[in-house]
Point group: C2
Chain length 464, copies 2
């Protein structure tokens, strides 16, 4: 059993690292709930993190790690249980080293993703992870949640971009794993165990990250497709024609464009009337190749798979395409979803899922569905909205049924109910419902082995 972080406990911590809790430390980013914390420890290095953790272990006090606070599943917000200590990585913000010729960068956990991208760019390199919250999200949280985003298709998710980690374990020991090696087969893969564990197995304090050469020439196009099935064929064709050079392949449904028209009319749209389905394709090509010509070749080779298209003729036009794509989540928020789903499916199951999900939801009530996302990764944001004249509050009582309906269909087709956002506290029940029993049992055994008192992010990923 954990004990609350009381005044006595706080007095035993090094006072120089403590600060008071601010509202932003305990608020879910969409304002849906509020957590608790006795104080915020802000250590400056791994040794100080270890000191804090040892104090928590000695007193059996739970500790909730804080990054940028942008997580969407409540991994950073503990609403119940004995009062925890919050541990923010905000003062561990150094880019420790950049090795351009190795394509490696070593960053502390408190660096924002945007800071890491900037440090890479300054060295003439690319750190390719891109998510909407990159200006706020910190590398420790990005890795702890194995963040995804739009470039996973080409470069992989956060896990794939990490060569090594420094981390503090539940006993206060420091895992010195900041290797800069592409190959290292010395023992179990603790790096990947800590990545995606959402702070429940250890506190990431720094990471060595993979960089890439910047593409010589980049281009983007909106291509209108007859439907999701055609979009998948177009994806395969694009990858065959440009192997290893497809940086993004995003699916956009007409509903998202209509929401944009409704809530953000200032965003310029490429087609009128808005098409039923379109994709945003981005290519990163070697210097000397002409991306606009390559995309035009693709549209021709696609035949019936593409019925209309616009190819960016400049970098600023390309930026405009992405601004439209990235405005869709903002428009969604203005409409207010009944329920949002971060799902992934085997690619070939996507058309079948889409054709059955709409009718299944219609059994519950009338909704508007905005399905968009990273088709290249099989990762869809399948979001359910009220019809005009109704609000999300009107459907409050149906939210669980909507979620269950979608998640059941996804699970039946071998998909995941958390593709890139993680489990946090919001999806602990989903993990228990849909997770493989052998996997869950092994996860619990590992949690108990590495954190026997359960002090690390209590209740995240696994029930406390």
């Amino acid at each position: 059993m954990l004990t609350p972080a009381d005044a006595d406990f706080l007095n035993r911590l090094p006072q120089a690292v403590l600060r008071a809790v601010r509202p932003a430390d305990v608020e879910e980013p969409r304002g849906r709930w509020t957590g608790q914390g006795a104080a915020v420890a802000c250590p400056r290095n791994a040794a100080e993190v270890a000191e804090v953790i040892r104090a928590c272990a000695a007193a059996r006090v739970g500790v909730v790690p804080l990054g940028g606070g942008t997580g969407l599943v409540g991994g950073q917000v503990m609403t119940e249980g004995p009062m925890p200590l919050l541990l923010s990585l905000e003062r561990m913000r150094a880019i420790r080293a950049v090795y351009p010729e190795e394509n490696v960068l070593v960053a502390e956990a408190g660096c924002t993703l945007a800071e890491v991208q900037a440090a890479a760019a300054q060295a003439g390199r690319l750190f390719p992870l891109h998510i909407a919250s990159q200006g706020t999200a910190r590398i420790g949280g990005v890795l702890s949640t194995n963040a995804g985003g739009v470039n996973v298709l080409r470069y992989g998710n956060a896990r794939d971009l990490c060569l090594g980690v420094e981390a503090v374990l539940a006993d206060g020991s420091v895992l010195q794993g900041l290797k800069r090696l592409r190959k290292d087969n010395t023992g179990y893969d603790l790096r990947n165990l800590l990545i995606g564990a959402e702070g429940s197995l250890g506190i990431l304090t720094a990471a060595s990250l993979k960089l890439f050469p910047q593409p010589g020439a980049e281009g983007a196009a909106f291509l209108v497709v007859p439907g999701p099935d055609a979009a998948l064929h177009l994806l395969a064709l694009t990858q065959s024609l440009f192997p290893g050079m497809v940086s993004a392949f995003e699916l956009i449904h007409r509903q998202g464009l209509d929401f944009l028209s409704e809530t953000m009319p200032e965003v310029r749209q490429p087609f009128a009337p808005a098409p039923g389905w379109m994709v945003l394709v981005e290519l990163g090509l070697p210097a000397g190749m002409d991306p606009a010509a390559a995309l035009a070749d693709l549209a021709v080779a696609a035949g019936d798979l593409v019925t209309d298209g616009v190819i960016a003729q400049s970098d600023s036009q390309r930026a405009g395409f992405w601004a439209l794509r990235e405005a869709i989540p903002a428009a969604n928020r203005r409409i207010g979803a009944v329920s949002s789903h971060d799902i992934s499916l085997p690619l070939s199951e996507i058309p079948g899922f889409l054709s059955e999900a709409g009718p299944a939801l219609a059994q519950i009530d009338r909704f508007r569905i905005n399905c968009f996302g990273h088709l290249g990764d099989g990762n869809l944001h399948y979001n359910v909205f009220p019809c005009p004249g109704h609000s999300r509050q009107d459907h409050e009582h149906q939210r669980e049924a909507v979620k269950r309906c979608i998640h059941d269909l996804v699970h039946a087709r071998g998909g995941s109910v958390s593709a890139e956002h993680g489990v946090g506290r919001l999806k602990v029940g989903d993990l228990e419902r849909y997770g493989d029993p052998a996997k869950l049992a092994a996860m619990r055994a590992i949690k108990t082995a590495l954190d026997p008192q359960g002090i690390l992010n209590p209740g995240a990923v696994l029930r406390a």
Copy 2:
């Protein structure tokens, strides 16, 4: 404490899955030592594997998993301790499914790597892992040892090529993790924990694997470089000019070419006299690009970094280049190494390591050194040979000192003493010596949590 697999125990196993032990089951592939085993269980599916494991758990009998038996660190050969049962995946050889449009293939653990490559090719796809032993090595072992090879630079190692695994855990439960998803953040990363665990945490029975489009056009060149430092600059230049398209970048030292002349004069060599250092570069380009022209452009752009070169003008010439590269290990075996080292280093540490390793070894005795390998991954095979007129037996008493000398230098520079071969039983002491104490403690805690009786591959990776 484990108990030996005696006649009573064997009688309790399903007799249909048992066969007698053959010499190849217990021999180290270089013939250096011989292991033990009471019998070989050859289950036909995961349920039968689970039945065998449950019997072993009930009787506390150790079980050594067998793939193709090509591992070079003794992970498949148990020479001491209570007599184990051997468990071969040889009858689990089905390609369960191929999904060309998803770029996914599901293979059972007993498939050889070559069979997986062939199934991918038949579907018009590429499974890009290439190692010398691919005709014999089985997918279960390839994943359990996280095998590497020549294409890691572009496509990653075995870990990076696996989307999901089916595995039997120490309690006989079956982990149903054959997902075909590119993104799945539902819980701890057990897949990567099992991959590279060398059968000590679970028995892999099947895997879903990533496929890739076949490159449209491939080309290769031998380029002579002034030294390793120039080779590293050339690597960075090549990756900048052809981002994501450099399939291999192999370093070759003159000593390897001299060994070829000495032991395999039939292998045609590109330069006479043999250069001090050269690299074998392979590009995989989109259809329509001319690989020979691209390589010629590279040689021009390289300036002083390249002093001579030969570009393959046909696929058969390219195959000849690779035949030379792949003959080097065979030539090495004919000479007979005093000690071989599968090391990796941060790229920028390689020139410094090479300039100090030779003089350090010369303090022990006079040797010939053949350093070659996957420069793009920082992975070198740094092999030490007797001088003419001497044999490896003459240096028997120095082997430990040679190994220690190299491994100490590698460790001091942040490198790995097992880049792609694993720990097995041969390098358990190295892992204890060079491994991070926090990592080792966590590994032992995980081993105890998942295999409390220690029945899975006893003595591999961690001391029994």
